[in-house]
Symmetry: C2
Subunit: 142 residues, 2 copies
C-alpha cells in the first residue's frame, strides 16, 4: 500500500515540491524509495504529515518540528523531552486561542461600527470610536 508523491500531494493539499522540501529538511525520514528511486509514501507517512500540519498550524517552525522528529528517532531516552515539548506547545496554543478571542472582539466591534455608520451616517453613536482608544490605554498604558 504505497502512494506516489503526486497522490500524497492531492491528499494533503501540499505540493510535490513542498513534500520534497520537507523530506530534504528531515521531516519525513521514513519515506521509502522504490528500486528506481521514486518515493513511496505509506499510511504512516501520512500520519506524520497530519502531525506536521498540526504543529505547523500552531506556529511551530519546521526546525522545531525536526527537533521532535530527531528525538522520536533517538528512541525512549527522549520521551521526557517530547512530552515537555507538547506541554510547551499546549501553553502556546492556549495563549494563541485567548489572543484570537481578543482579536475577535475588536473585529466584531469594527463590524458593528461600520454597519452602524453605513446605515445611519457618520453621526452615529460609534462616531468617536471610544472602544479602541480605551483599548490602547489598556494595552500600552496611558
Amino acid at each position: 500500500m504505497g502512494y506516489s508523491i503526486g497522490q500524497v500531494a492531492k491528499k494533503t493539499g501540499l505540493t510535490a515540491h513542498t513534500l520534497r522540501y520537507y523530506e530534504k529538511e528531515g521531516l519525513l525520514p521514513f519515506v521509502k524509495k522504490s528500486g528506481s528511486g521514486l518515493r513511496v509514501f505509506s499510511d504512516s507517512d501520512l500520519d506524520w504529515l497530519v502531525l506536521i500540519e498540526c504543529l505547523k498550524g500552531t506556529g511551530m517552525s519546521l526546525k522545531d518540528i525536526k527537533q521532535y522528529i530527531d528525538w522520536y528517532m533517538e528512541g525512549d531516552s527522549t520521551l521526557n523531552q517530547r512530552l515537555e515539548m507538547f506541554k510547551r506547545q499546549k501553553l502556546k496554543l492556549e495563549e494563541q486561542m485567548s489572543q484570537l478571542q481578543k482579536h475577535m472582539e475588536k473585529i466584531n466591534y469594527k463590524i458593528a461600527y461600520y454597519t452602524e455608520i453605513i446605515a445611519n451616517g457618520s453621526e452615529g453613536v460609534f462616531e468617536r470610536n471610544p472602544e479602541l482608544a480605551a483599548e490602547r490605554k489598556r494595552v500600552y498604558g496611558k
Copy 2:
C-alpha cells in the same frame, strides 16, 4: 502629547526598526515629524498600531492591512469595502479558531500518550496510537 519612536517601541514591544519599516510600507500615514525631522507619535497612532497588531495577529499580511488603510484614507466611499474586509477577516478568524481547537485535541492526545508511556512503559494502552491513524483516514480519506 507626542511620543518618540523609542517610547513607542517600548510601549508596543515592536522595535524602532520595525516601526520605521511599517511607516515605509504605508501602515502609519498619520505619524507627524518634528521641525528637525524626528517622528512624533500621537495617541491615535498608537490606536492604529493596536489595530495593526490585531489584524496581523489574525494572519492578515501587511499588504492587506495597507489596503485597509488606503481605503480609510480614501474616505466614506470605501465604507463598504472596509466592512466587507472585516467580515471576511471574521470568517477567517472563526476558521482559525476551530482549527486551533482541533490541533488542541491532537496535542492533548499526545500529552496523554507520552504521560502514559512514561508512567507505564511502552506496553500501555496507547501503544499503537490509533487516534492518529483514524485522524489520517478522516482527513485524507481511504
